[in-house]
Assembly symmetry: C2
Homo-oligomer: 847 residues x 2
C-alpha cells in the first residue's frame, strides 16, 4: 500500500502527487485480507438456497456453543443486499440470535449490533420512513446515500463476566428485489464501482482489528455472504466471483431435482477463479444428492446435509435450528480446522522451501527464511503475499519483475486464460505434433505469422523455452549458411559426422540468449559462462561492442564504443560519451542503438549471413511494439519468441523462419530434416494461451494501451523515431522529441527525468513496459553479483512493489495492458525510496 507522507514533499513532488490521487481512484488496490482469524465467503449455487440460514446457523454454533468459554466475536458482512429494507440478511441474524440464545440457555452475555452503511435513495427513504427517521439530503452523493445506521441489543447472561458479540453489517443496499446490477442501474443513478465495494469490504474486515489484537485473545469468526449465485453480477455488473477476494469459501448447494448439476457447476465456476471451497452444504429434499456430490468431489471436500425446512413460511425456524445444530457444529469445526491448517502451512512454507527447493540464479546462503516470499495467489499484476508481522495478513505486491519477464495478463485476461486452459486440457490434453494438426497449434501459427512474423516469416517451429528456441534458430542458421556458401556440396554423399568448417556466430557483447550450452556459446564471456558455471563453454562467436542509449540527468546519452566515437561530435540536445570498455553486466538491460542494429543486419544479409532476432524478451509489446522489427526497420531470417508469447501463463517458444531457411532442410531423406524437437512441441495449452494473448494484447477493446492505427503501445519514446535517417544523433534527437509528444504514457516523462537526475542513478532506460535503472555503484557494489540494491528493494516491498535486481541494475516491469496510472504510482514509490536510500548511503559513507 501507498503510504504517502505529504508534508515531507518538496514542491516539485506535490504536482505529481496530485495527479496521482486524481487518477488513483480508478485503479483500486486489490484487497488486503486479515488472516489473524478465519474469514469465509458464503457462496450459493442459486438464489434462495439458504445462505443466510447457514450464516445464522454458524453464528449460533460459534457463539452459543455451551462448551465454549464465550468471549467470542462473530462478524457477519453482507456486502450487497437487494430488496431492502424488507429483505435484510444481516437483520435476520441480528433478530434470530437472541431467540436462539434464550432457547439454548446461553450462560454468558451477548452483545449484538446491526449496521447498514450505504443504500440507494429509494432504499434509504423506505428504511428511514419505516423507522421514523429524518431524511438528510446532505448524506446523498451521486451514487448512494450514506445511511450509516446502527442498532444494538444486549442479552444479559448469568455469567456476565464473559461477553460474546455478534456484529452484523450490510454494506450496500437497494430496494428492488432483483439482481444487484439491475437494482443499482435503476436506483443508484449510476453503478457502484467494484473499487468502492472492495474498499468498503476491506475496511469492514479490518475494522476494530488493531484493538482486538491489543485486547488479546478473543476468538473471531468472520463471514462474508454473497448475493444470489456464484456468478451473479454485482452492482457494477462484474460477476461476484470475479471480484478479487479469494477468501476460502463455503458453497451452499442445491438439494432439489437438478440440484446436483447446479451445485457442481457452481463449484467449478469458483475453482475456475482460483477459489478454495472447504465444504458444501445443502438442504435435504429427499433426493440423496450428497452421494453423487461426494463422488464428484472424491471425498476431498466434505458435503453436509441440513434437515428439510418447514413448508410454513411463518415458522420461526427455532426447531429447525435445533435439528440442524449438529450439522452447523460440524461445518464450523471444518472451517476452523481448515483455517488453522492453512495458517500452519503458510507459516511452514518458507522453511520447507528453503529445505527442498533449489532456486535458479540463487545463492541459497544469502536467502534466510524470513526473506522468502510466500505467494498465496496472483491476481492480474499483483501477488497476494502472506505476511506475518504484527499480525497475519495477505497483502498485495505489484509484480514489478513481471514474474521474470513473462507476464502480460491483467485480472480479466487471467480469468479468460484460466477458462481456456481448462477447456484446452479437457479437449486436447497434449497430442504429439509431428505430422499432425489441431486447432490451437494451427491458430497459434497463423497468428504468429500474421503478427510478429508478418512480411517475412513463413514457418513456425515450436519448442518449450527461449533457450531451445535459440538452439533451434542456430541449427537453422548453420544449415542455411552451409547451404548458401556451399559448405555442404552434397548432403547425403558426405559423412555427416565429419566436421566441415568451424561455424561461429556474430553477436553483441552483453547479450544473453539462454542457459543451455548452445545458447550460451552464442554469448560473450560473462559471469554465467566461466568454468565455475559452464565448463564446456568456449564462446563460439565474434562479439561486438555496440553503442547504447540511455537517459541520465534528464538527457539522452548515446554511449559509443571507441571505434565509433571518433566520428561523432556533440549535439546540443544529446550528450555523447565514450562507451565503457568494461564488459556489460549480463542482463543489465542495455538498450542498443537501433540504427547500429539495422546497419549490422543489412551488412550480414548482404554477405548471406542469416540473421537471428532473439525476441524472447523483447517480443509481444515488451518494448511498446509487437516486434522489434518495427523498431529497427529491418527483418531477420529467423526469430525466436517465448516468455510473453503465452501471456505469461505457461512455457512455450517459437522459432519463426523464412521459406528460404526452411528450404535448406527439404530433401528426400529424413536425415536432412531438422532433427530437433521436444515432446511437448506445440503443446495445446501453450498454443491456446498464446492465441488468446496475442489477440488480446493487440485488440484496443481489451488492451486500452494500444494505439491501433500506429500498432504501438502508448509509451514515451522510441516509437516515433524515424529510423530511416542515418546519423545516430538524429535517432536520439527523435527519441527526445517523441517523448514530449505522447500525452498518455506508460512511464511518466517528468518522473523518469527526475529519476534520471537523481544522484543515486547512473542510467535510465524506459521503453514500452520496461523501466530499468542502473544505480551509481563502484567496486564490489557494481556488477551482477552485487547486493547493493537489496536494502532499497526491501523497502519497496513494504510499499507493495515486488522488484528483483540484476546486481546494481533494478527495473520496473509492467504488462502490455497495465494502466499508466499504476506505472506512475510505481515510479513515485521508487523515487521516494531512492531519496531514503541516498540518505542512508550518504550516512554510511560519512561513517
Amino acid at each position: 500500500m501507498l503510504r504517502l507522507r505529504r508534508h515531507h514533499y518538496p514542491d516539485h513532488h506535490r504536482r505529481i502527487l496530485l495527479r496521482l490521487f486524481h487518477h488513483s481512484t480508478f485503479h483500486p488496490q486489490p484487497l488486503d485480507l486479515p488472516l489473524c482469524h478465519p474469514t469465509y465467503q458464503i457462496w450459493s449455487a442459486n438464489t434462495s438456497l439458504g445462505k443466510t440460514l447457514v450464516s445464522a446457523g454458524l453464528s449460533s454454533s460459534f457463539l452459543l456453543s455451551p462448551a465454549s468459554s464465550a468471549n467470542k466475536k462473530f462478524v457477519y458482512l453482507k456486502p450487497i443486499q437487494t430488496g431492502y429494507p424488507h429483505d435484510s440478511d444481516s437483520r435476520f441474524l441480528f433478530t434470530k440470535l437472541p431467540s436462539l440464545s434464550l432457547r439454548r440457555k446461553f450462560p454468558s452475555s451477548l452483545i449484538l449490533s446491526n449496521s447498514i452503511l450505504f443504500s440507494s435513495l429509494f432504499a434509504a427513504k423506505s428504511f428511514l420512513s419505516s423507522r421514523d427517521l429524518p431524511f438528510q439530503p446532505e448524506k446523498f452523493n451521486s451514487e448512494m446515500y450514506d445511511l450509516n445506521f446502527r442498532e444494538e441489543n444486549r442479552i444479559s447472561g448469568e455469567e456476565d463476566s464473559s461477553v460474546s458479540e455478534l456484529v452484523c453489517k450490510t454494506l450496500f443496499a437497494w430496494e428492488e428485489a432483483v439482481s444487484p446490477h439491475l437494482a443499482a442501474e435503476r436506483e443508484s443513478g449510476g453503478v457502484v464501482g467494484d473499487s468502492k465495494v472492495i474498499e468498503t469490504l476491506g475496511k469492514c474486515l479490518r475494522d476494530g482489528l488493531e484493538s482486538e489484537i491489543e485486547r488479546g485473545k478473543r476468538e473471531i469468526l468472520c463471514i462474508v455472504e454473497t448475493a444470489g449465485g456464484v456468478a451473479s453480477p454485482g452492482p457494477s455488473g462484474s460477476l461476484q466471483c470475479d471480484l478479487p477476494f479469494r477468501l476460502p469459501g463455503i458453497l451452499v448447494g442445491d438439494g432439489r431435482l437438478g440440484g446436483i448439476s447446479g451445485t457442481i457447476s457452481a463449484y467449478e465456476s469458483l475453482k475456475l477463479r482460483g477459489y478454495d471451497v472447504v465444504a458444501v452444504v445443502f438442504e435435504d429434499h429427499g433426493l440423496v444428492n450428497e452421494v453423487p456430490l461426494m463422488s464428484y468431489l472424491r471425498n476431498r471436500v466434505p458435503v453436509l446435509v441440513l434437515p428439510p425446512l418447514p413448508q410454513d413460511s411463518s415458522n420461526d425456524l427455532m426447531e429447525w435450528f435445533d435439528e440442524s445444530h449438529n450439522v452447523f457444529d460440524s461445518l464450523k469445526n471444518i472451517m476452523l480446522l481448515a483455517y488453522s491448517e492453512r495458517i500452519q502451512r503458510l507459516c511452514d512454507m518458507p522453511k520447507r522451501a528453503g529445505e527442498l527447493f533449489w532456486w535458479p540464479f540463487t545463492q541459497h546462503k544469502l536467502v534466510p527464511e524470513e526473506a522468502v516470499t510466500v505467494i498465496d495467489s496472483r491476481c492480474g499484476e499483483n501477488f497476494s503475499v502472506y505476511q506475518d508481522q504484527k499480525n497475519k495478513f495477505i497483502g498485495q505486491q505489484f509484480d514489478a519483475c513481471a514474474s521474470w519477464w513473462t507476464q502480460g495478463p491483467d485480472a480479466t485476461l487471467q480469468i479468460e486464460l484460466a477458462r481456456d486452459m481448462g477447456y484446452t486440457a479437457a479437449r486436447f490434453g497434449h497430442v504429439m505434433f509431428p505430422e499432425n494438426v489441431y486447432e490451437p497449434a494451427l491458430e497459434c501459427a497463423e497468428l504468429l505469422l500474421q503478427g510478429v512474423g508478418k512480411g517475412w516469416a513463413s514457418r513456425a517451429y515450436f519448442s518449450d523455452n527461449g533457450s531451445t528456441a535459440i538452439e533451434i534458430a542456430l541449427k537453422m542458421a548453420f544449415r542455411k549458411f552451409s547451404f548458401d556458401h556451399d559448405v555442404l556440396v552434397d548432403f547425403l554423399g558426405k559423412d555427416t559426422t565429419e566436421k566441415c568448417v568451424e561455424l561461429k556466430v556474430l553477436a553483441l557483447k552483453g547479450s544473453y540468449h539462454g542457459d543451455t550450452l548452445g545458447a550460451m556459446e552464442a554469448q560473450a564471456p560473462s559471469p554465467y559462462t566461466g568454468f565455475l558455471q559452464q565448463p564446456w563453454y568456449s564462446g563460439r562467436g565474434l562479439f561486438l561492442d555496440p553503442p547504447t542509449v540511455f537517459m541520465y540527468n534528464s538527457k539522452w546519452i548515446l554511449s559509443l564504443p571507441e571505434l565509433l566515437y571518433s566520428e561523432i561530435v556533440e549535439h546540443k540536445d544529446i550528450m555523447v560519451r565514450h562507451c565503457s570498455t568494461v564488459v556489460h553486466a549480463a542482463g543489465g538491460m542495455h538498450m542498443v542503438d537501433p540504427l547500429f542494429q539495422r546497419i549490422l543486419v543489412k551488412e550480414c544479409q548482404n554477405h548471406k549471413i542469416p540473421v537471428i532476432f532473439d525476441e524472447v524478451f523483447t517480443g509481444f509489446w515488451r518494448l511498446g511494439v509487437e516486434t522489434t522489427a518495427d523498431l529497427l526497420g529491418c527483418v531477420p531470417d529467423i526469430a525466436c519468441y517465448g516468455k510473453l508469447l503465452t501471456g505469461g501463463v505457461i512455457p512455450l517458444a517459437a522459432t519463426l523462419a523464412t521459406n528460404a531457411v526452411f528450404d535448406s532442410f527439404v530433401g528426400d531423406s529424413k536425415l536432412k530434416a531438422l532433427l530437433h524437437g521436444h515432446s511437448y512441441s506445440a503443446h495445446a495449452l501453450g498454443c491456446a494461451a498464446a492465441a488468446k494473448s496475442i489477440k488480446w494484447f493487440k485488440d484496443p477493446q481489451t488492451n486500452h494501451n494500444i494505439i491501433p492505427e500506429r500498432r504501438i503501445l502508448r509509451e514515451f519514446c522510441i516509437a516515433k523515431v524515424d529510423i530511416n535517417h542515418c546519423t545516430p544523433i538524429y535517432v536520439v534527437k527523435n527519441l527526445v522529441h517523441a517523448a514530449t509528444l505522447v500525452d498518455d504514457k506508460l512511464w511518466d516523462l517528468d518522473l523518469i527525468q527526475q529519476i534520471s537526475s537523481h544522484r543515486t542513478v547512473q542510467r535510465v532506460v524506459a521503453l514500452g513496459t520496461l523501466c530499468a535503472i542502473e544505480l551509481q555503484a563502484a567496486g564490489c557494489n557494481a556488477g551482477y553479483g552485487s547486493l547493493y540494491a537489496a536494502s532499497l528493494l526491501k523497502k519497496l516491498r513494504e510499499d507493495g512493489v515486488y522488484m528483483r535486481p540484476l546486481g546494481n541494475v533494478i527495473y520496473l516491469m509492467c504488462g502490455p495492458c497495465s494502466s499508466p496510472e499504476v506505472c506512475s504510482q510505481l515510479l513515485l514509490k521508487l523515487y521516494q525510496r531512492l531519496e531514503e536510500f541516498d540518505k542512508v548511503e550518504e550516512k554510511l559513507k560519512s561513517c
Copy 2:
C-alpha cells in the same frame, strides 16, 4: 474400431480372442461420430428450462420452413428419459409437429416416427398396459426391457413429390420422474453402463446413414437432448457432461432471477470438459439476463431470447411457437453456419498445416497433405481424428505413441487435470520462482522427493523439458566433480572464465538425452549429431557399449558386447549372443542389462564420479516402477524427470540432487550459485499437474494397475528380478521366471511371445507401459531414416491405432492406468497386421 474376422483365425488365436471379447465389454471404445450433417447436443443449465421446446422449435424451423424445398430429415434423440411414459420428450415432438405443420400450411408431405428402444421393467409395464400391448418376459435382460416400440404418422401435403421426415427416438427410459441415476438404481436392478449408452447412441447416430448417402443429398439435422442439467448424473452415475461425446452444443439457459449465475456456471462446466457451445438460448422472464450473459461471452457466442411461455399449463403452445419462430430460425441458422464453418476448417487444416508448420523430426517432403492427421480432440488415451473418406466422420485412434512418451491420463484424470489447470491459472497464473514459495511448487517438490527421489534426493531444481533438466544435471555433476577432485581449489580467488580441465561424461552408446547442445554432447555420435544437424557437436564423452536384453522367438536374449561375451556361457533358459557392434539406432528402445548399469553406477561412485540417471523417459511408471532406481537397486547423485511428470499435459522438468551436490554450490557469492534458469521455472500449472498426476498414478483407488504393496504396475517381467544376484544369466533367468507368475499383465505374455516369434520381428522389449518391436530389416530399410514400417503403420491407423516409428523400430505405448484388455487388443491388431505385412513383403521379394 476392432474389426475381427473370426473365420480367419487359427486355433491359437481363438483362445485369445475369446478372452478379449470377455473383457472388452468393460472397455467400450469412445464414440465414432458422423460429420456428414450437423449433430448438436442440447444442454441445459437446470431441469425444466425448456430443452424439449427448443428441440421442437428447431425441428419445426428446420422441417417446416416455407422457403425450403423439403426433402429434409430431422433426427431427435433422447438418450435418457425419466418419468416415462407420462413424460416423453420424443413423443412431444412427434405429437406437436403435425399440428405445427398444419398451422404453417406446410406444402410437402411429412413422415413422422417415434421409437422407444429400452426401458426399465416398470416403465415397460406401464407403457405396454397403457397401449394394451402384451408384456413379453423374454425381452427382459438383467438391465433393461428391450421395448423396441415404434409409432408412425404421415401428413400428406399438397406437393407430395417432396417428403420431409421427423425421426424421434428415446433410447433408455425409466418410470420415476427423478434423476436417471436414482431411477436406474431403483428400477433397473442394476445400472445401465456408460458403454451401453454410448454404443446405443452411436448406433442411432449412424442408423440409416449409408443409405442416406447413397440416396443423395438430403439435408439432415440431428439433435441429441440431454436430461436435466449439464452435470446431472446419467443412469450409471457418471455426469452427463463427462461422457465422451464432444458434440457441439446448444445451452438452454435460465432467464429467471439467479439464472445468470446458473447459465454461466453450466457454460463453464461444459468448457471444462472440452465442449464447444455455439449458442445460448433462454425463456424471457423480464430480467434482461441476456445483457450480462452477452457481456460475459464477449459477444463470441450468440445469446437468443425466447418469448415468455403461457402460464396456463393446458395451453397447446401453438401461439408461443408462432411467436418464437424467428428465434428458432436464427438459432437453426447459427447451428448450420457453425457446422459448415467447422467442416470447412477441418478440411482446410492439413493444407494449412503443411504450409505453416515446421514439424520437428519431420522431412516435410515425405508428408503429403493426405498423410496429415487432423486431431479434433483427445479423450483419455484416444485421439478423435477427423476423417474424410467415403463420408466425413470423427474416428477414434488409440494414441500408441502416447503422444511421444508423455501421456498418462485416462479420461477421468484428464478432466481432473483440466479443472486443476483452470484453478491454478486463475489462482497463480505464473509467479517467478527464485526466493519465492507457492503451494503447487512446494507440493510438487515434496512429492518428488518423497517419491522418485526417496532415500537419496534432497533438492528439486525445476526447468522446462528433458534437455534443460539434463543440462542442469551436467552443470551440477561438473561442479560436484570439480569440488571432490580439487579442480577448483579456491572458487573465488580464481578467474572463473579460465578453463581448468577438460571434463567429459561417461555414457552409453545408443543413449539419447535431448536436443540442446549440452545434452547432445553427452551422447555418442549418431544421425542426430553430425555436422548436418549439429555443427557444434564434438561428443564430449567416453561412450560404452552396453549389454542389452530382449525377446526373440519367445526366448529372452542377452546381447553382449565383445568384451563381456568371453565370460558368459550358454544357459538352458536363455540364449546369449554376441552384441551387434553397429551403433544402436538412436532412440531404438534398447533395454540395457540392469546388472551392467548397477555395476557401472557403483564403480563411478567408488571413484567419486557423480552419477546422473536420465529418467526423463523412464520415470513415473513408464517401465512399471515409479523410478528405475527400483529396477537397478542403486541410487544416483542426480536424476532428471520430465514427460510423464505432469501426467502428460504440459511441459515441466525436474532435476533432483543429493545434498552433497547442492552443497558444492553454497557459498558467500551469488557467482558460486547455479546460474541456470528459465523464466517459467516451477511454473504453477506444471507443478499442479505434476502433483495431481504423481498422486493419481500411485493410488490404487485411481490407478487399478497399481499393486500397492509392491509399488509396481502389474506388468510382465522385470519387477520380480532379484537384482542383488551377480550373474547376468541370473537376471535374465528371473525375467523369464517372473513373466510366468504375474496373472493380470499389461502386455499379454502369450501374445508377446507370438509376436517375438513372428518372422517379420527381430526383437521385442515389453516392459511397463512400453512394448517395442524391431522389424527384421536390412540395408536402407534399417536405421532411423528408414521408412520401412510406413505401410504397416498406415494399416494400423485404419484399425484405430496411432503409432509412429523410429525407423524400423515400432512401439506400442500405453499409460500407467491403461487397462490390460486395451493393451491386448492393441497387440492383437498389431499381430494381424504383421501377418499381412509379411505377405506383402514376401510378394515384393518374389517380384
